[in-house]
C-alpha cells in the first residue's frame, strides 16, 4: 500500500500517507474497527520521521476516517456511504487535474486528451 512514498514529490510525506489511507478506507480495503499500523511500526517500515505518521493519523482523525484511542492505537471508523462517495470523487478529480496539467506540459489539446480517454476506457470495458 505504501510502496512509493516519495519525499521528492510536491505533496508532503504526511499528506501522501494520509491520502493512501483515505483511499483504502473509502474503497473498503480497511474495514471499520480495524487497527492501523502503530506509529512506531509505520515510521520504522517507511523510514520516515514518526511525527510524519502522527500528523497523517491526526489529519485522518480530524476528517473522521479514524479515531486515535489513547494507549490502544488508531482504528478505522465507520464511514458514512456519502462520505465514501465524496472521497472517491475527490480522488478522481485530483487524478484528472494531474493528468490535465501533464497534458498541458506535453502540449496536447483538450480534444486530443478526451479522445484518448474515450478510446482507452472503451478498450477496457469492451
Amino acid at each position: 500500500m505504501f510502496e512509493q512514498i516519495d519525499p521528492r514529490s510536491a505533496t508532503p510525506l504526511y499528506a501522501q500517507i494520509a491520502g493512501r489511507l483515505r483511499v483504502a478506507v473509502a474503497a473498503g480495503e480497511l474495514r471499520p474497527g480495524e487497527p492501523l499500523p502503530s506509529v512506531r511500526q509505520l515510521a520504522s517500515k517507511l523510514r520516515v520521521n514518526p511525527a510524519t505518521v502522527v500528523q497523517a493519523y491526526r489529519d485522518l482523525e480530524t476528517e473522521g476516517f479514524v479515531e486515535m484511542r489513547q494507549g490502544a492505537g488508531t482504528f478505522v471508523k465507520e464511514v458514512v456511504p456519502e462520505r465514501k462517495a465524496t472521497e472517491r470523487s475527490k480522488q478522481a478529480i485530483d487524478l484528472v487535474r494531474q493528468m490535465i496539467a501533464e497534458a498541458g506540459r506535453l502540449g496536447l489539446t483538450a480534444r486530443e486528451l478526451q479522445q484518448a480517454i474515450e478510446q482507452e476506457l472503451e478498450a477496457r470495458i469492451g
Binding site: 519525499p7 510525506l13 512506531r40 520504522s44 517507511l46 523510514r47 520521521n49
Partner: protein
C-alpha cells in the same frame, strides 16, 4: 530543555587552512536534525566539538543542559555516538564489545540489544576486524541505540553501506525515535535519506552554518520559476533569488528561496509573466543554496 543542543559563536581552528567561525546552531529536543554539507565543510569537526573531543577557542556549547567539554562525562552518559570511521577495539568479538559497552550505561537495554543483534544478523563470535563494513556500521548503531540515550550524534552512519543495510539501520533508528522522545543529530551526504526522516535541517559550508530551518520550509520554500519578460534590473523581491539563468526566448529560469503563493503579485507589479512554479527536491535545493554562497550576487 527546549534545545537538546545549543551552540553559540564557536571559533575553532585546526592549522592554517581550516577554521570554524561564528558557528551557532540549535537542535530542538525531540527533533531529527539533518546536518548537510559538502566534504570538508566542518560537519565532523562540529560533531567532535559537541562530544568534547575537541575544545573550541571561543564560544559555548551546551548539550542536554550540560556544558561541553567541562561536563562531558555526564553528557556522554546520555548520548549515543556513531562516528564516521569505526572506533571499536578490533580484536574483540561482537559479543565482547556489546558486554564492554553495556557496562558503562546503567540504562542499557539487554533485551533490545539481543533483538537488534538478531535483526542485524550479527554473529556474536566474530571479531570486529573481521566484520564487513556494513556489519561494523550495524554494530555501532546497535551499541548507540541499546544505550537508550536522550541524544544520538550520528556522523554519516550509513555512508558506504549498501541499500539493504541502510534500510535496516534507519528502520532501527526510527523505531527508537518513535518509542522515546530522543533527539537525533545526523550528518549525511545522502540527502534523499535525510529528506524522509528529518524535521530540521542545518547546512554547513566551509566552516559556516549557512542555513538552519524546518525541513518542510526548506523543501517547500525553494522553487524554480519560469519568468517571461523579466525586468532587466531587480529591485527588492519578496523572495531570495538563488540563481537566474536565461531560458528559451526572452524567458529566464529563476531559483528562489522563501517562496509563497501570494508572491505571484510581484511579477504583475514589474510587468513580467510567471509561467511556471516547480518544486525542487532537497538535493537540487541544497546545491542551489550552496551555489549562492559561493558566487557573488548579481
Amino acid at each position: 530543555m527546549s534545545n537538546a543542543v545549543e551552540v553559540r559563536d564557536i571559533l575553532y581552528r585546526a592549522g592554517k587552512a581550516f577554521e570554524i567561525r561564528d558557528l551557532s546552531l540549535n537542535v530542538p529536543t525531540g527533533s531529527v536534525y539533518g546536518f548537510l554539507g559538502p566534504n570538508g565543510s566542518g560537519k565532523t569537526t562540529t560533531i567532535r566539538l559537541l562530544l568534547g573531543l575537541l575544545r573550541p577557542a571561543r564560544g559555548r556549547i551546551t548539550v542536554l543542559g550540560g556544558d561541553v567539554p567541562k561536563d562531558a562525562p555526564r553528557v556522554l552518559a546520555r548520548t549515543g555516538y556513531v562516528p564516521e570511521s569505526p572506533h571499536l577495539y578490533p580484536m574483540l568479538t561482537v559479543e565482547q564489545l556489546i558486554r564492554v559497552h553495556a557496562s558503562f550505561y546503567p540504562q542499557w537495554d539487554g533485551a533490545w540489544s539481543r533483538d537488534l543483534q538478531r535483526t542485524f544478523r550479527l554473529d556474536g563470535g566474530t571479531r570486529f576486524s573481521s566484520l564487513s563494513k556494513g556489519e561494523k556500521g550495524k554494530l555501532m548503531m546497535l551499541l548507540a541505540l541499546a544505550q537508550r540515550p536522550e541524544l544520538l550524534l550520528l556522523d554519516e552512519p550509513t555512508d558506504g553501506l549498501d541499500p539493504v543495510v541502510r534500510r535496516d539501520v534507519l528502520s532501527a533508528l526510527l523505531d527508537y525515535v518513535s518509542q522515546q522522545n530522543a533527539t537525533v543529530f545526523i550528518s549525511s551526504h545522502l540527502i534523499h535519506e535525510l529528506e524522509r526522516i528529518c524535521d530540521w535541517v542545518g547546512v554547513m559550508d566551509r566552516g559556516h552554518l549557512v542555513a538552519e530551518l524546518p525541513m518542510q520550509s526548506f523543501k517547500s520554500g525553494i522553487k524554480r520559476l519560469r519568468v517571461s519578460n523579466p525586468p532587466p534590473r531587480l529591485g527588492d523581491t519578496p523572495f531570495v533569488i538563488l540563481s537566474r539563468e536565461p531560458s528559451t526566448g526572452s524567458a529566464e529560469t529563476w531559483v528562489v528561496r522563501g517562496w509563497q503563493p501570494p508572491m505571484t503579485q510581484y511579477f504583475e507589479g514589474v510587468g513580467a509573466g510567471l509561467k511556471e512554479v516547480v518544486d525542487l527536491d532537497l538535493e537540487e535545493g541544497f546545491v542551489e543554496l550552496l551555489n549562492t554562497f559561493r558566487q557573488p550576487q548579481q
